[in-house]
């Protein structure tokens, strides 16, 4: 079961654990992935609904520009080096290890030029695309974060919107 909704209309700048990770001109995706169980699978059927949600995953997907691999390496304390190939760069990730979790900050725009700051209190890198994509004449790397509940806040994060005054033209 998977559903996703794109909530960002423009590009964004990404900061993870205080480290500038990079930026993207592509819209990024914030999605929700549900693990559900059918009560039919359980012998003793109790309750009126036959499908129940057991787990919810919030994920953030975005395409970062390639040179930010060095930033990812620093931000996550990865021992492997960035390998320069003929046409692309590669950073090997072993996701079985312990990678630091940190605050994920996404600085982007909303409708009517509203400056939007999405702050996830705790996030973890869960996936990096194996292949890079060509977009806008540059190579970008797909990166996925999983958003976790921060124990201190008991919350996923917050969204702040800042209205740009009409006297300032920033096109």
């Amino acid at each position: 079961m998977y559903s996703e909704k794109n909530i960002v209309f423009a590009g964004a700048t990404t900061v993870f654990a205080g480290m500038l990770l990079g930026w993207t001109r592509d819209p990024l995706t914030i999605g929700q992935e549900d693990d559900k169980v059918k009560i039919d699978d359980v012998q003793q059927k109790i309750g009126v609904v036959d499908v129940r949600r057991t787990k919810v995953n919030f994920i953030v997907k975005l395409n970062l520009y390639e040179f930010t691999l060095e930033n990812i390496q620093k931000a996550f304390g990865i021992n492997a080096n960035v390998v320069q190939g003929a046409a692309s760069k590669t950073l090997s990730l072993n996701l079985s290890g312990d990678y630091p979790e940190g605050e994920l900050l996404i600085l982007c725009k909303g409708p009517n030029n509203v400056l939007r700051t999405i702050r996830f209190y705790k996030a973890k890198l869960t996936d990096r695309g194996d292949t890079s994509l060509d977009a806008y004449g540059a190579t970008v790397i797909p990166v996925t974060f999983q958003v976790l509940v921060h124990p201190d806040y008991d919350d996923l994060g917050s969204i702040e919107e800042e209205y740009v005054p009409s006297s300032v033209v920033i096109d």
Binding site: G18, W23, D26
Partner: protein, 98 residues
């Protein structure tokens, strides 16, 4: 409905924010901190100044920082953020001691 907030000065050369990440990014691009409002020690508001400050803020929120090339370096931004956080924590500690 939320009232629109004006974080830019009238001439558009100054911009106020309390977000250390955004401030360090703007500093990295060349903006200077010209004012620190410590009225609320938990939410210190920094005012930055630069002729292109509106353009910088727009680039941060549009994902077009790449056009500034090598000016924006992750390690430099991190160092500026550390300095900023050190100051913010010091103000908080001083306020707690009073």
């Amino acid at each position: 409905m939320t009232e629109p907030r004006n974080n830019f000065s009238q001439d558009g050369k100054q911009y106020s924010s309390k977000d250390p990440d955004k401030i360090s990014l703007l500093q990295c691009l060349g903006a200077k901190i010209v004012k620190r409002d410590t009225t609320d020690p938990r939410n210190i508001v920094f005012t930055l100044e630069h002729n292109k400050i509106a353009e910088f803020v727009d680039a941060i929120h549009s994902g077009t920082l790449g056009k500034y090339g090598n000016i924006l370096r992750a390690d430099k931004c991190l160092e500026l953020r550390k300095q900023l956080m050190s100051y913010i924590n010091e103000v908080k500690l001083n306020a707690r001691g009073k």
